[in-house]
Symmetry: C2
Subunit: 432 residues, 2 copies
């Protein structure tokens, strides 16, 4: 039996929305079903998430962009998170992750689920550790049972995908912590699990009880986003043995999940110098049987703090061009503070620019057509058509508005190259 | 005789500052002299520009970043341009171009030259056309004689490099205007010359009198930035016959200049889809005998108006990685309006991120060391060292300051991955 036969939710979704989803992605329903059965695509949608927009991830479907929101111990304001959610939607994010680590986490999560049709992702490890942190205890005091109860609860609430760092084995965590790395373990979930294992001299509970996890996820069609707990946190750490050890485990886990009808994605780096992005993407894809790859950046330099959305767009464009399917945004706040509303907007736009750049290069019709439409509008100095086709119509209109009476932009004015050739045959230039 | 023998200014500069410049670039003075003699490098410095910092361009010297400033017919404020100049310097630009097209152009230029040691570039075509535009005449009413007088005057004033679109032949301009392009000619200087030629049924005066140009430039060591008047203005136009026709002419002109002891750079695109950036850079380098390549972006999508500094950073990183030597910034205002002070800052930073990404990938020691220093500072949660080594210490410190009492950043707080593993052996976590 194939995944689309084993997974009742996916099966029903294909029957009810298959044509529509495939058409939006410029695919045939057959292409989509084959991609899902091969584990090359996933369809995010937990039926308990009311009004969720089922979202297909896996090229040649459109590259998708995720926005992370959520409270932190120092900045904890639910209204602010809902504002960020709205901005992420308006900016064009395809999914959202709630990474809250402070306040009433169930309330935040339920309000986000209620407020948005975008597939929602979470990191249940944060939620299970948070009460211990709040009580002044060790964050790794939670039990394996509590972790699975949290996962099950969130699945019932309607979470569509969960980052679960199942591949952080005791062996791999030790490899990442032996002093050879510049920046050890930088994933919060990965570090938390490594701490949990070290204190108990035990193996990763998500790995030890992987079968239990698969059952929960199959029931609710929760897509497992196999977390890269050992992703490089410095360019110098990219591609080391610890990273590949984890990727190799993730490849096995993705195959097991597929056999059980459970959808999985693979999370990827992180910090990767430009010349290694292609090798990273192709290497991870190979080891994970071409499962959808969900990358964080990658950042092509460590030195861009305050502008990591730009460093992430450089790496993200390369990554998507070489096969990454899903870009997690980075905001200007990355490595410094919790993103504010403007950061969310800028982060989504930067990732969309990366995706558009990659998809134009790959010849995807929707991307090529968009670029062409803007260029044609430029040739006609048609500002409305430029805005309509821009990745951010709002910002373009806002910046343009002070000079909207002029046909040319305020950079060139009478020196507009487009107008310079008008009437040149007759020596007539209406700019005088 | 070699260039460093024929060009008296360069020869004197090498004797007086050669050791210092070479050391800054991690080169030997011999490497530098060989690069200059081969035309693979240029040393920007017009002796009439008081206190100019002689600036070497051509990899493996450091990749340089240029910031464009200047008035426009709709926004014309000298004080604002001087403010933008200061911000460009503070942000880390290596050169500045004054692209003013309105007001007292001599005054603006002289004040910039006086105010800044950064090599200054101009486009004399704008200055020679501007009085005609101001008087309500056709912008192409200027004579060839007036154009050369303008070039000579600016050389005497101290301009260090000039964009001169010598390769816009009547034949090439016709190829770019025959309707096959989406966006014809988008370079202001290129369009102006095409108009000039078409109205007179004449050849490009900069090409016809190239010998006269070389004499002026040799005398003052003005580096000719051979303008790409026919650069693609749409991704769909990248790499067409008109573009290569001009590049081929530029290659010949660069060789002629070198024979006369005159330094030249080649200007490059523009709008180039991601998958064509490598071919563009390598193709241009090959046809121009590896002359220093000065690119505008390239923009990897046309759809990022309002964020073209990001689309330009994606293409700029790729371009510099494949051999481009000099990045002209793009700002968030590109394609919309004249950049304001914040745009200048953001544009320089985006280009520096692209350069840093490329140079880290190329293994340049200064770039690799910077990334390493930040990563080590992150491992130590040493915020001062992070800021000291960041491409924008100011922004990092500003965003961090609200939470400066906490060792962790406000994104993770007690969930800091770095701290998560502290004391894990003993089950002690100071975050409680």
């Amino acid at each position: 039996m194939s995944l689309t036969e084993k997974n009742a939710v996916v099966s029903r979704l294909l029957a009810s929305h298959g044509e529509e989803i495939a058409a939006h992605e410029h695919l045939t329903p057959q292409d989509m079903a084959r991609g899902l059965d091969a584990g090359r695509m996933v369809l995010l949608a937990n039926p308990a998430h009311k009004n969720v927009s089922p979202t297909l991830i896996g090229q040649p479907a459109r590259v998708k962009v995720n926005a992370n929101i959520g409270t932190s111990p120092m900045i904890n304001d639910v209204a602010m998170e809902l504002k960020k959610l709205r901005l992420a939607e308006q900016a064009g994010a395809h999914t959202v992750m709630d990474l809250s680590t402070a306040g009433d986490l169930d309330q935040v999560r339920l309000r986000i689920l209620e407020a948005s049709p975008l597939p929602l992702g979470t990191v249940p490890l944060y939620s299970v550790a948070q009460p211990y942190v709040a009580k002044g205890q060790d964050p790794s005091d939670f039990t394996a049972e509590e972790l699975f109860e949290e996962i099950e609860k969130e699945a019932e609430q309607g979470v569509d995908f969960m980052t679960l760092h199942c591949g952080v084995t005791a062996r791999a965590a030790a490899m990442a912590s032996d002093g050879r790395r510049i920046l050890g373990i930088v994933s919060r979930g990965g570090a938390l699990l490594a701490r949990w294992m070290k204190r108990r001299n035990a193996e990763n509970p998500l790995l030890e009880h992987y079968g239990r996890l698969l059952k929960i996820c199959l029931k609710h069609n929760v897509t497992i986003s196999l977390g890269d707990g050992l992703r490089p946190g410095a360019g110098a750490d990219a591609g080391d043995a610890a990273q590949w050890e984890e990727v190799s485990v993730l490849g096995d886990l993705a195959r097991q999940a597929l056999d059980h009808g459970v959808q999985t994605m693979i999370e990827g780096p992180g910090h990767v110098p430009l010349h290694l992005v292609q090798a990273q993407i192709q290497g991870i894809k190979r080891l994970t049987n071409n499962a959808p790859l969900y990358v964080l950046g990658p950042l092509t330099t460590d030195a861009a703090a305050g502008y990591d959305h730009i460093a992430g767009a450089i790496g993200g464009a390369q990554a998507a061009y070489h096969g990454a399917d899903f870009l997690c945004y980075l905001t200007p706040a990355e490595h410094v503070t919790l993103p504010g509303p403007e950061d969310v907007w800028d982060g989504v736009k930067a990732s969309l620019i990366a995706a558009q750049s990659a998809e134009t290069a790959l010849g995807r019709p929707w991307a090529v057509e968009r670029d062409l439409a803007i260029s044609r509008a430029r040739a006609a100095l048609d500002w409305e058509a430029m805005a309509d086709n821009a990745l951010d119509p709002h910002t373009l209109r806002k910046r343009r508005k002070d000079f909207h009476k002029e046909k040319e932009c305020a950079m060139c004015g009478a020196f507009c190259a487009i107008r310079m050739l008008e009437g040149a045959e007759h020596g007539v230039c209406d700019k005088g």
